[in-house]
């Protein structure tokens, strides 16, 4: 572990946020977020509703623009190119190209309802990366098997349960082979008995060394899988640390109050 950690410390962070700010109109939703995720790490974001977790996650792949601070993924600024001491905003096409490097899984799955599970997975690799139909189909079959849905490829999303849909959504994101995966409350819309099957897939990913940022209310998952946990409240990081420290022995009153409600 220590050898690994030292090696990771030397590597470029996968995600690095310094003083990230974001406002919607007059309300400031992110008030200077600092966060670092190293390659291979799993980072969990927890916090009460409206604290800005989703907004921050969406900033990481530039679904939202930021109003201040610096945010970089894999050493590249998100949405900008630095030339000398100037930042130039990227063209929409360039932003789209950057997003291929970041997979995202949504609370409400957002599968494409007019495509089958297999087509959902094959669509972006073929359209965006020009992959051949044969290669895309082969990978879709692999991924479906990996998320435990082998043979379900011809089903439309409406014919799948919530847990199955979310697993297809994870497979769809993985099909672009991103080095970083973002999860926004991936199990919050699921019936309790379906949560486990999705968390199991995510644990598998973590075990394979995928870098993940996960917004979640599943404290058991955070404790078991996360390398670090960030507690956010009111647009700021209140405290962060290793899950055992932060979840079992929080230093701040607000963290303690929040944890006593969800645990």
């Amino acid at each position: 572990m220590t050898a690994q950690t030292q090696q990771d410390l030397a590597a470029t962070p996968m995600v690095e946020a310094v003083g990230v700010r974001k406002s919607f109109g007059r309300t400031e939703v992110l008030k200077g977020i600092d966060l670092t995720v190293r390659p291979g790490e799993v980072t969990c974001l927890i916090g009460p509703s409206g604290s800005g977790k989703s907004t921050f996650l969406r900033c990481i792949n530039h679904l939202e623009t930021i109003d201040g601070g610096r945010l970089s993924v894999n050493g590249h600024l998100v949405g900008y190119r630095q030339k000398g001491d100037r930042l130039y905003e990227l063209k929409p096409r360039e932003v789209a190209a950057k997003r291929r490097e970041i997979g995202m899984v949504f609370q409400r799955f957002n599968l494409f309802p007019h495509l089958t599970a297999e087509q959902n997975i094959m669509h972006a690799p073929m359209l965006v990366r020009g992959e051949s139909k044969k290669a895309a189909r082969a990978r879709a079959a692999d991924l479906l098997e990996r998320v435990g849905l082998a043979g379900r490829g011809h089903h439309y999303p409406a014919q799948l349960s919530g847990g199955q849909q979310q697993r297809v959504a994870i497979a769809r994101a993985l099909a672009m082979q991103p080095p970083l995966m973002l999860f926004d409350e991936p199990t919050s819309a699921l019936d309790p008995e379906l949560v486990g099957e999705v968390l199991d897939v995510m644990k598998g990913l973590a075990a394979e060394g995928m870098t993940m940022v996960v917004v979640t209310h599943e404290m058991g998952f955070a404790k078991e899988v996360a390398d670090s946990v960030y507690f956010m409240d009111d647009g700021a990081v209140v405290e962060s640390g290793r899950p055992a420290d932060l979840l079992d022995d929080p230093r701040h009153e607000r963290t303690r109050a929040f944890l006593s409600k969800v645990l």
Binding site: R99, L111, A124
Partner: protein
């Protein structure tokens, strides 16, 4: 009336379920639905009146069914039907493509494009189609010459006599298409707005560009909402083509008009037109049914029919 109905229907029932008959098994009980005598009476009256009207129509010598039969497949009628169909198809194709463009303009972040799109729809939906048709028919009165060049510079590549280029047919196509663009744009806009925002997020997160997401994710889903009203638009368009007869558009109505203007067989020739219009709109309605079914894919429609065919979920 209700009371007598009840007593007359319940008496045989009590006999049938009489336990001494040995037929107490509930499966043997006969369920007699409530009879709606009022509805039967109303239906009979309506049928009687309709039959009387049809009879008088059929026997009306002014209708001259033999004349109708003679003209139904005459060359000039068939040609008119062809032109009516051509106008419908061309106007709907241009109208739909243009409608998508105007709708996407309306949803763009460029305020000039948004304003232009709004103005277009406002103008073309705010004036009667008949007026627009006459306007295009008399285009030459507004511009004698049509010039192709660079505006405001005096550079001209080509110049045409308006009447030579914009004949009645072109004027008819222009009028019908440009009008349809405005209506189609509103329908397409409603369809796009009906697609969940999360779809756009998911498409963007996968690295699709805005146009890729629009073409492959948003529009195909919007089709479900767009297709049914566009089917109605097509039927309406087929009928609206008759309006171009005011500028001599050579469509079905113009064709029969020009013949009855000479032989005064007004009613039989109009009946010929009516028969063709009804036949064409009926065929369109059947086509619409199948197109709607195709775009219902993935939303339960397809799965229902597949399950019915035994191809459904195998869990």
């Amino acid at each position: 009336m209700e009371a007598t109905t009840l007593s007359s229907t319940t008496s045989p029932r009590t006999e049938a379920s009489d336990p001494t008959n040995g037929r107490s098994d509930p499966a043997d009980l006969e369920a007699v639905p409530l009879r709606h005598w009022g509805r039967w009476a109303a239906a009979a009256v309506v049928l009687y009146v309709t039959a009387a009207f049809l009879w008088s129509l059929a026997r009306n010598p002014n209708l001259e069914w033999e004349v109708v039969g003679d003209y139904l497949f005459e060359d000039f009628v068939i040609r008119g039907v062809g032109i009516t169909l051509m106008l419908t198809v061309v106007a709907m194709v241009i109208g739909t493509v243009g409608g998508i463009v105007v709708a996407v303009m309306r949803l763009s972040s460029n305020p000039v494009l948004r304003g232009l799109s709004w103005f277009y729809t406002w103008f073309f939906r705010g004036t009667p189609l008949l007026v627009q048709i006459i306007f295009w028919g008399f285009l030459a009165a507004l511009y004698q010459q049509i010039e192709i060049g660079i505006p405001f510079t005096g550079v001209t590549f080509a110049s045409f006599d308006t009447n030579a280029v914009v004949g009645p047919m072109t004027a008819a196509i222009l009028a019908l298409s440009l009008n349809e663009v405005a209506y189609a744009a509103e329908i397409v806009r409603g369809g796009i707005a009906s697609v969940d925002d999360g779809q756009d997020d998911a498409a963007s997160a996968l690295g699709m560009t805005r146009s890729q997401a629009m073409r492959t994710i948003t529009l195909p889903q919007a089709m479900r909402v767009i297709v049914p009203p566009m089917g109605n638009e097509t039927v309406t368009m087929l009928k609206s083509t008759a309006l171009v007869s005011v500028i001599g558009g050579k469509d079905l109505l113009t064709a029969v008009q020009s013949v009855y203007a000479q032989n005064y067989q007004v009613i039989p020739l109009l009946v010929v037109a009516v028969i063709w219009y009804l036949a064409l709109t009926s065929v369109l309605s059947v086509g619409q049914y199948f197109v709607e079914r195709r775009y219902g894919k993935g939303y339960g429609n397809a799965s229902m029919s597949r399950r019915w065919l035994g191809l459904g979920v195998t869990r």
